[in-house]
């Protein structure tokens, strides 16, 4: 338990956060790339056809992982927002603002691939249905968090607190997205896989495996992208502090070709 608390405190300090996460970036990227390749090849070429949707269901292997990430990342933005607001943790600010762009991107991918799946299955690209509308609102929330931060550029710390407020209020949208297909009549199909209820939509392991692999791959890619952006965020906002110069020069010293 002591080690966990110590780790938490270390991760809360920008220099230690920077030093520790530097070692994680390359392994995370390799894992993400490897799993994506394996998951896509498995899903597109080896998974069996769906008995109702034929080959069109293969969109699930990018659509559902992206949709899961869009909500998972917003939960992280919200929790980091609470930490920013309540404890004014600098690393939480960095994590919040670093998560927002990749979350917005996953939301956009979810909407686009959903439209491309909707056209052959429902006969329309878009319908103002509860699931689609709430996911679109999620995209606007991400843009809102980033927009508020960018609009208030005199003081990044105050900007982060304002953005955190938007992020926290937006958390209410997550259960709405999750249960939208049950609360309202929707043309969107229900969940194929759920954490507690097991897999009641997809019965075939050969279909489920690539989906879970892609879900893992997107998690690893998110961690890579978020940590790297958080590092840049900390370097930028702390650039007058000693540790930043040390961290940058330390990296330069390892590469003999680069003079500092």
């Amino acid at each position: 338990m002591n080690r966990i608390i110590k780790f938490y405190h270390e991760m809360g300090s920008p220099p230690s956060f920077y030093r520790i996460t530097s070692h994680w970036l390359t392994p995370l990227l390799v894992l993400a790339l490897g799993l994506t390749l394996y998951g896509l090849i498995d899903g597109l070429f080896f998974a069996p056809e769906d008995y109702q949707q034929g080959d069109s269901y293969r969109i699930i292997f990018v659509h559902v992982p992206a949709a899961w990430m869009s909500m998972f990342i917003y939960a992280i933005v919200g929790v980091a927002g609470i930490m920013t607001f309540v404890w004014r943790m600098k690393v939480a600010e960095a994590v919040m603002m670093a998560s927002a762009p990749i979350g917005a991107l996953f939301t956009a991918v979810t909407l686009l691939t959903g439209m491309l799946w909707g056209k052959p299955m429902w006969g329309t690209y878009w319908d103002w249905d509860a699931r689609m509308t709430s996911e679109l609102i999620l995209l606007f929330l991400y843009i809102g968090v980033m927009g508020i931060y960018a609009a208030y550029d005199e003081d990044p710390r105050k900007a982060a607190r304002l953005a955190a407020l938007v992020a926290i209020i937006g958390l209410v949208n997550l259960p709405i997205i999750r249960y939208s297909v049950y609360w309202w009549t929707s043309i969107h199909q229900g969940s194929s896989v759920s954490l507690m209820g097991g897999s009641n939509g997809i019965q075939d392991w050969d279909m489920l495996r690539p989906l879970l692999v892609m879900a893992l791959a997107t998690k690893f890619y998110f961690l890579y992208s978020m940590l790297s952006r958080a590092q840049s965020y900390l370097l930028k906002t702390e650039q007058h502090k000693q540790w930043v110069s040390k961290a940058i020069d330390g990296q330069a010293r390892h590469k003999p070709g680069v003079s500092s």
Binding site: D55, S56, A66, P101, S228, S232, Q239, V244, I248, D249
Partner: protein
Amino acid sequence: MMEWFDMGKYDFYVWTSIGVFAVAMLADYVSVRNRAKHIKRQIKAKNRRKQS
């Protein structure tokens, strides 16, 4: 070989979706790398100015 890529009448929808996903991830990767490079170069330049 080509029949591997055959998705019946859903070719366009499936492959465009995969394309959207791939392009989005690649764009994010490029933007992450550029941001890191940009800020590091800025700090290095500032440090050099301070030293001289």
